[in-house]
């Protein structure tokens, strides 16, 4: 099938493109022409998509999601997860390894790639575990997983507690030219913490999760990255001080990057009320309003490299319990782009070029994937975004299996309307292709 996306503003800073143009997608899954001639259009006989008022960008990539498959399919499956991704306009996702069993061998990587191929929507790039069982003790079979197709390595969900183990991990991963993604959490400081330590923990009588429990690991892993020369990426940073550490490391020329989640940008600890809504429980927790402001600035100014959802599906009954007993995490693939459009892009705080960098360019570079560029002959992996298509987030809007998000009821400005993976439509007019 061939498609012509006409009248859209096409933005791709990788090829210095920002203008209204027609993009012709050939039936070979590649971009056949930009501003095609009448003859080219006639020859291709494409399905025409009216892109007026919309913005066409390289396909979005979220490098931090949890699809629970294998092992916890009652929460979410790979098939369900890629539906959520497609709905959000994401053509690619990288899945964290905390499945059951943990993705610490090539076998699990192969299984996940196979399931994703069957689903045939967004592409899945498995992230392998750093250590066996994510226990932080013994190296996982990293070489085996690289061969099977793992794009990066992380023990996400757990901090690697011992610096010595982390050093070994980085030394070992370096030879495969992969990035170590670190979930920064010092358990001896965090303990049973469930909300930010400070006002909210005092007000609600909940155990505090201090900012330093995260920052100490960020600092440690930056230093270990300097020691080993291994590429390091800090997962879901939440504090102003953590961002400053990354900024300083970059100024020193370290191979260090980081990412941020929409909930840490647009919510803060004050949003956790005495209703004890478990959809505000995530790890790391919501921090102060000051931290959220610093994160928004750092995302816009280039200090934070990637926007990720930390999409963490849970079954309804698991979240309908006491706050302290509820699992951490919220879903975010469907609301991620709309939130950033509403709060950063449309108000003019973030440029479209920057949006493309943090949602498409930087994550692919960090996960060692081939770049996706809007150029003739390039793979037609594209997302068409309608920035002015107001809607209210409802459970029906969410395309994955889980509904655990604090953004239900939020009024948002716009969303993805179409998405293509190598010319294959996975989202058409806001509806996920079957």
């Amino acid at each position: 099938m061939s498609y012509l996306i006409s009248g859209a503003r096409v933005v791709d800073p990788q090829v210095d493109l920002d203008r209204v143009a027609g993009v012709l997608v050939g039936d070979d899954g590649r971009i056949a022409a930009i501003d095609p001639s009448d003859d080219e259009v006639r020859a291709a006989d494409p399905v025409v998509i009216d892109g007026h008022g919309q913005v066409l960008v390289p396909g979005l990539f979220d490098m931090h999601v949890h699809f629970r498959d294998p092992g916890q399919e009652y929460k979410e499956t790979i098939a369900g997860g890629v539906r959520a991704a497609a709905k959000g306009g994401y053509t690619d996702v990288a899945t964290m390894p905390n499945t059951t069993p943990v993705c610490d061998t090539g076998t699990v990587v192969t299984y996940q790639l196979q399931k994703a191929a069957e689903a045939n929507l967004a592409r899945v790039h498995p992230i392998g575990a750093l250590t066996m069982g994510e226990r932080g003790e013994q190296l996982a079979e990293i070489g085996d997983m690289v061969q099977a197709g793992a794009c990066a390595f992380s023990d996400d969900g757990h901090g690697v507690q011992y610096a010595g183990i982390m050093r070994t991990v980085m030394d070992y991963v370096k030879q495969f030219d992969r990035v170590v993604i670190s979930h920064c959490q010092d358990d001896s400081l965090v303990g049973k913490g469930v909300v930010n330590e400070g006002v909210v923990s005092t007000r609600l009588g909940l155990a505090g999760w201090p900012a330093q429990g995260e920052e100490i690991h960020i600092d440690r892993d930056i230093q270990l990255s300097e020691l080993t020369g291994c590429a390091f990426h800090a997962a879901h940073v939440t504090t102003a001080a953590g961002v400053e550490m990354v900024r300083a490391a970059k100024e020193r020329g370290d191979d260090v990057t980081c990412e941020v989640c929409p909930h840490h940008l647009f919510l803060c600890e004050d949003d956790i009320t005495d209703a004890y809504d478990t959809n505000f429980k995530m790890n790391p927790p919501l921090r102060t309003a000051e931290d959220a402001r610093a994160l928004r600035e750092a995302l816009c100014d280039g200090t934070i490299d990637c926007l990720v959802s930390d999409h963490a599906p849970h079954a309804t009954h698991e979240k309908q319990v006491e706050f302290e007993r509820a699992p951490f995490g919220i879903v975010g693939l469907e609301t991620e782009l709309p939130l950033v459009l509403t709060h950063l892009v449309n108000p003019g705080l973030m440029t479209w070029q920057r949006l493309v960098e943090v949602t498409a360019v930087n994550p692919r570079r960090r996960c060692r994937l081939d770049p996706v560029r809007i150029e003739v002959g390039g793979e037609a992996t594209l997302t068409l975004v309608n920035p002015h298509d107001p809607f209210t987030v409802t459970e029906d809007f969410l395309a994955g299996s889980a509904h655990n998000t604090p953004f239900i009821g939020a009024r948002l400005d716009g969303r993805a309307s179409h998405a293509f993976v190598c010319g294959h439509a996975i989202l058409m007019d806001g509806k996920v292709a079957c």
């Binding site: 007000r203 009588g205 005495d274 004890y276 319990v321 706050f323």
Partner: protein
């Protein structure tokens, strides 16, 4: 009429709510002092005492309050409750709610449990203590005891000494005292203080001797032996020396100042027997006020359904 449907914590109570509860409790105190203490007021009403963690003192006080008001009570205790067997709190409450009960009185291990119950049932809810969050009736009976002794609450200077970080009493007592215009200082080692005392409206102080002479009320918290594992204090002996109230220290209190304690007292740790049994100590007055204050809370909450207009 109270401004709230449920009694979950004190920050939602207005000054007038607190006054109403204390005034009503005074009437019930009178009833509790006569030979026939039982009233027919709540005849035919059903109250569930859902105690998901053990509590002899609070549970007895609530049961007596319910019975003296003439209500039928149903006790669901932690050990017998299906919550322990893995049933969710929501399902337990839905099951009990299906039996048409009028009120839940809930003690729970986890903060926010009463809020879950309130969302799940149309019945009224009283929080009898949830996790480290709140214990509003304890705070109200403390206020009742202070008001009875001093004739006022406004301007009282209250020091709460001990493990505020893990105390559900502090989460309710401090905001209630602030609402009625009292000043509160949390006293204890930093390992016992909440991260942000100002979020509750309190100041904090590490040394008891710095504030003792200024206080009207010295409120001693129980040292929970189970907290010692976390190395929050090196030993009971050192805690008693630094923060315990003995006769020598008590002698530096203002002449009219009182000693309070939510019980049960660890004699020789936070209080010596000399102080615990002295005329300054209002510990048994607090227990005595408990039934009256709980009767008042139950009475005012269940009577709030006046939207049913009689002819």
């Amino acid at each position: 009429m109270l401004s709230v449907r449920n009694l979950i914590n004190t920050p939602s109570l207005t000054r007038d709510d607190i006054r109403q509860i204390l005034d009503t409790a005074a009437t019930f105190e009178q009833v509790n002092s006569r030979t026939i203490k039982k009233l027919p007021t709540l005849r035919g009403r059903t109250i569930v005492n859902l105690f998901l963690e053990p509590s002899t003192r609070t549970k007895s006080s609530f049961e007596l309050a319910c019975k003296r008001l003439g209500a039928d009570t149903l006790s669901v205790a932690g050990s017998s409750s299906s919550v322990v067997k893995g049933e969710s709190l929501v399902d337990t409450v839905l099951t009990l709610d299906a039996m048409n009960v009028d009120m839940f009185i809930c003690r729970a291990k986890y903060a926010g449990s009463p809020e879950i119950i309130a969302r799940t049932t149309g019945a009224r809810v009283i929080n009898a203590g949830d996790g480290k969050h709140a214990h509003p009736t304890q705070a109200l009976l403390d206020l009742y005891t202070m008001r009875k002794r001093f004739g006022r609450l406004e301007g009282l200077r209250v020091g709460i000494v001990g493990d505020s970080l893990h105390s559900r009493v502090v989460g309710s007592l401090v905001p209630a005292l602030r609402t009625v215009g009292a000043e509160v200082t949390l006293v204890g080692p930093a390992t016992f203080l909440p991260a942000a005392p100002e979020a509750l409206g309190a100041t904090s102080c590490a040394r008891i001797d710095d504030v003792l002479g200024d206080l009207d009320v010295v409120y001693m918290l129980r040292v929970q032996n189970e907290r010692l594992d976390g190395a929050a204090i090196p030993s009971v002996r050192e805690y008693a020396a630094l923060y315990g109230l003995d006769a020598r220290r008590a002698a530096r209190m203002r002449p009219e100042a009182v000693v309070m304690h939510p019980g049960p007292v660890n004699r020789g740790v936070e209080l010596t027997s000399e102080v615990a049994d002295s005329p300054r100590a209002l510990i048994l007055n607090q227990v005595n006020a408990g039934v009256s204050v709980r009767m008042a809370a139950i009475y005012l909450l269940l009577g709030g359904e006046s939207d049913v207009v009689s002819d």
